[in-house]
């Protein structure tokens, strides 16, 4: 599929602004990741990080279907979710660089980055580690009669963790408002999905009585349309749901994973980038449908890039936490 369907099932009430916000959010993720990668290459970022580039339509398609009060749980590859759920660049870059103005005051870093005030319950460095958290958030919503929905993002590799089946069982038994969003990017670290996943991922959810869908994760409209529908239904108590989003990561598993030939080919990477890039595809659709002109899109792109550049230099200059922070926040209620 090299272009988005010309007349998608337009989400009810969607309009040009919605589309452009979606586009902009995807561009913001790409720009954030490019800057993060550059910070790594320039040896200005401590540690490692996992790039979301290539998967933007997944996070944006889903998060654009959510309210601010809805919750998400994120992964080690969490910048995309964070941006898509409404985070700002400055506190994100500050976090990446271990600065006190970061969302986690520099204590979390890339693998724990989250704008908590927008309902992001945290990125997680334990693969599958947030499946219980997401399901528990949904349980809380149900118990308290709140109508928020929780989306649990995780990778294809994480489907190997038993925790998923434990919580899907309970979510199904108790009809919890949670959506399991499996980002199938074809790899877990340096291993192909088919080598680590027997049978069918969708069927695994279905076996627990959970309605499951597969969707093209490069098509932001398809993702968003499905997500809106499922979120609305989950809000009404028809959850849980499971979505498998077929996607691809452009970079290595992490920024240091440069020599990838032993596990995937250059051609494969090129094909995805050239024919299935979610931003390019959506941009083409937007211009084709007359929602925006090429110039509009370029305007968005340059504005976002400028925003990123400014945030990076802000973060580079920002202060580190005071040493007294080291013992702060071990326990709540104690400074």
């Amino acid at each position: 599929m090299n272009e988005l369907a010309p007349t998608p099932d337009l989400p009810e009430g969607a309009n040009a602004q919605d589309y452009l916000r979606m586009y902009r959010q995807m561009v913001r993720i790409r720009a954030f990741e490019d800057s993060a990668n550059q910070l790594y290459l320039d040896a200005r970022m401590p540690g490692l990080t996992h790039m979301y580039s290539g998967e933007e339509a997944v996070a944006v398609g889903i998060c654009e279907a959510l309210e601010r009060t809805d919750k998400i749980t994120s992964t080690h590859r969490g910048h995309g979710h964070c941006v898509a759920k409404g985070a700002e660049f400055k506190p994100m870059f500050c976090e990446l660089l271990g600065k006190v103005e970061g969302y986690c005051r520099g204590k979390g870093g890339s693998m724990h980055i989250a704008d908590q005030s927008n309902g992001n319950l945290g990125a997680n460095a334990i693969v599958g580690g947030s499946m219980g958290i997401a399901t528990g958030s949904a349980l809380r919503a149900k118990l308290q009669g709140a109508d928020d929905v929780t989306v649990c993002f995780f990778g294809d590799g994480a489907t190997a963790q038993g925790l998923l089946y434990e919580v899907m069982n309970m979510a199904a038994l108790w009809s919890l408002p949670v959506i399991y969003a499996c980002e199938n990017n074809g790899y877990s670290e340096y291993t192909k999905t088919e080598e680590i996943a027997a049978g069918s991922i969708l069927a695994r959810a279905e076996a627990f009585g959970i309605e499951a869908h597969q969707v093209d994760g490069q098509d932001v409209l398809a993702v968003n349309t499905l997500a809106r529908d499922l979120v609305a239904r989950a809000r009404k108590g028809e959850g849980p749901f499971f979505i498998e989003l077929m996607t691809y990561r452009y970079h290595g598993h992490h920024v240091g994973d440069i020599n990838r030939l032993y596990y995937r080919s250059k051609e494969e990477e090129a094909t995805w980038k050239e024919t299935r890039d979610p931003i390019t595809l959506f941009g083409a659709w937007l211009t084709r449908e007359g929602v925006a002109s090429e110039e509009d899109l370029q305007g968005i792109e340059s504005a976002v890039r400028a925003e990123a550049a400014e945030a990076v230099s802000y973060a580079l200059d920002a202060a580190y936490p005071d040493v007294s922070e080291v013992t702060m926040h071990v326990y709540a209620g104690e400074g």
Partner: protein, 332 residues
Amino acid sequence: MMREITLSQAVNEAIAEEMRRDETVFLIGEDVAEAGTPFKVLSGLVEEFGTDRVIDTPIAEPGFMGMAVGAAMTGARPIVDLMFGDFLYLVMDQLCNQAAKTHYMSGGKLKVPLVLRTNLGATRRSAAQHSQSLQALVAHIPGLKVAMPSSAYEAKGLMKAAIRDDNPVVIFEDKLMYQDKAPVPEEEYLIPLGQAKILREGRDVTLIGTSSMRQVCEGAAERLAGEGIEAEVIDPRSIVPLDEGALLASALKTSRVIVVDEGHQSFGVTAEIAARINEKAFYHLDAPVLRFGAMDVPVPFSPVLEDLTVPTVDAVADAARKLVAGELIHAA
């Protein structure tokens, strides 16, 4: 006279009171509702609070532990019932990588106010996978608090404090003490975490005992009293936070200390308490701090073996006697 209730009733009352007081408190675990747990500690709660707040789960400890973390992060106060302390191993990731670290990793933005209630204690003839006392494992992990009630009174006050605490708190009840009675006030009271209790004053030797090892210490003290030795008995009540001040004060007073805990001795709770007292009261001690933990063996089923593995009144009294007599124990 103050009424006496069992430790089981005390826990039940504490939870019921807090559930009445705070709608966000709920219980989750295996067979907690109609069955009221195999130990019947939670009997009656589902009748009062309904199945929405007393939730029976499938046998999926990692799953419901993780769910409790998520519920706690988003505004509820879950009490997780872990049927046997031995199942802690199953929930360690959710407890130690998630619950314990979330507040810190989020720079103080997220809180995880949950209680994990579970148990400890051998000699129930339940063999190696249903008899462990694993408090040392969780005490080692920053971000968790750990309480070890030593009677019905403590069980109630600590449970109420734990439920109101904004942090993950693990409470270990001794499953052999559920039917033990103690005076418990009708009026509400809380026991703040981190406050040890002097159960008996004495000037010759300090006996520090956690959970049911308090009884062992009290038994030893009783016996020693008959011999003219005045033992001071202290219950730390929580091991994280640890009321170091109270323990040190007693050590300074008696100059001789014995620490008793039912977890395995090596790399266990007694090591930390002994190390701290040695470190901070060294020049005031007449003898090394002695430790009694469970033997470093998996708990055997056969009663004749199992009974050998736990600290006893005899052993503690004997050690105290030698300490007071100035005999070198374990001298190199």
